[in-house]
């Protein structure tokens, strides 16, 4: 393909991401600390995402310049209930353009390509996150618009953080959480939450056995899960990122107890715990446990091919942040 821009003319080939280790390396060298990068992604982590049950073909359009990867985006399948309707969305992430190639329309082109691939593969729409203040907010919204679509900002997520006191060096034994218990906890979320993730048995099992995941359950019906990952800072700080906060069936006291149990386990392998405030779960136990608000904000954008959602701003969003 010949890619023509105002400032430069070059020959760029397109195709799917061929080598994820190279893609992760491009993220590491392209995302600015603070503005774009929070977590340190590894090929192993990306491999788990690619192994999602029933994922079908991986949607990860890329551009290469003389064989070198210079831009890509990836999408992961998610089944959700959106305002009462079951929808299949592509969770788009890892949007990356090498710094030397920015400002030439590559990001917009690759975003549109991924949306088109999602449409061609039977998805109902796409959802993605952008860090507040990052140029990707305007780029992705503009790209969708250029394709005749609306990427509507539907939610702004905050984060809560807490230091973890060092625990013993002993690695926590993984707690086997029953997938059925996990799914039933997920199905008991407040029905007023605008978008909730739906889990098949295979998806729940995949989720609970992923590398680096710490999970804990209360047999009366609460489940907390999260993953241990390094922060994208100079010290590579080990952090515990909470993902699923499924405790609607628990009493306030039981929620606090479950959280303390999880934090004790996490303190053996991480020095900071980070919890997203996505509006679907009660966060008061986190505040009671000493969590503080982070200045970081993340905007969620929803792009649907057909009818846009009724709500301009969602009441809550139960979906993972990749």
């Amino acid at each position: 393909m010949l890619f023509d821009t105002m400032s430069i003319r070059m020959t760029i080939s397109s195709g799917p991401v061929r080598d994820w280790a190279t893609a992760v390396d491009l993220i590491r060298h392209s995302w600015k600390p603070g503005r774009e990068a929070t977590r340190e992604y590894t090929p192993e982590f990306v491999a788990t995402l690619l192994g999602y049950p029933g994922a079908g073909p991986v949607l990860a359009p890329a551009y290469y310049d003389d064989g070198a990867l210079i831009a890509f985006v990836a999408g992961f399948p998610r089944s959700v209930r959106l305002e009462g309707q079951v929808r299949r969305l592509l969770l788009m992430s890892f949007f990356t353009v090498a710094p030397a190639y920015r400002g030439q329309g590559l990001g917009r082109a690759i975003w549109v390509e991924c949306l088109q691939q999602a449409k061609d593969n039977g998805y109902d729409g796409a959802i993605h996150y952008c860090v507040d203040g990052n140029a990707s907010n305007a780029i992705t919204v503009g790209a969708a618009k250029s394709a005749g679509l609306e990427a509507r900002r539907v939610f702004t997520a905050g984060f809560l953080m807490r230091s973890l006191r060092p625990g013993s060096d002993e690695q926590p034994e993984p707690e086997a959480i029953d997938a059925g218990l996990f799914r039933s906890a997920a199905e008991c979320l407040n029905p007023g939450v605008t978008l909730t993730r739906l889990w098949s048995e295979a998806e729940a099992q995949w989720h609970l056995r992923n590398t680096g995941r710490l999970s804990i359950a209360d047999q009366t019906g609460g489940v907390l899960t999260g993953v241990v990952q390094r922060a994208a800072d100079a010290a590579h700080t080990p952090c515990f990122f909470l993902e699923d906060v499924l405790w609607d069936r628990l009493t306030p006291e039981a929620r606090g107890t479950l959280l303390q149990r999880l934090l004790r386990r996490a303190s053996r392998v991480a020095s900071i715990a980070v919890a997203p405030a996505l509006g679907y779960a009660d966060v008061s136990p986190f505040l009671a446990a000493g969590f503080r608000r982070s200045p970081r904000l993340l905007h969620a954008y929803l792009t649907l091919w057909r009818a846009p959602p009724d709500s301009s701003e969602f009441s809550g969003l139960y979906l993972d942040i990749v």
Binding site: K32, P33, G34, R35, T38, G133, N134, G158, F159, M161, R162, S163, A231, A232, D233, A234, T237, C239, I272, V274, R292, R293, S294, P295, R296
Partner: protein, 82 residues
Amino acid sequence: MDATGIELSIRNTVAVIGGLPEDADADADLYLDLGMASVHALALLQELEERFGVSIPDEQFVESTSIAKLTATLDSLLNRHV
């Protein structure tokens, strides 16, 4: 402590915790412009509270994303009863 002293102390704290230069632009966003990792925000908050002996409400801290804004926030908290 006056605002100049507060700013100097904040600059030192930001340099130690965030690895940023002490002469960083006071109006630049610590995270978006200067590249401080957001996971360091917690350490920054806790260190500032300890150093100045004051509790910084989360709502004010999350809005204070530059050295200038942090200075104004702490100046307000420290000197509000003077």
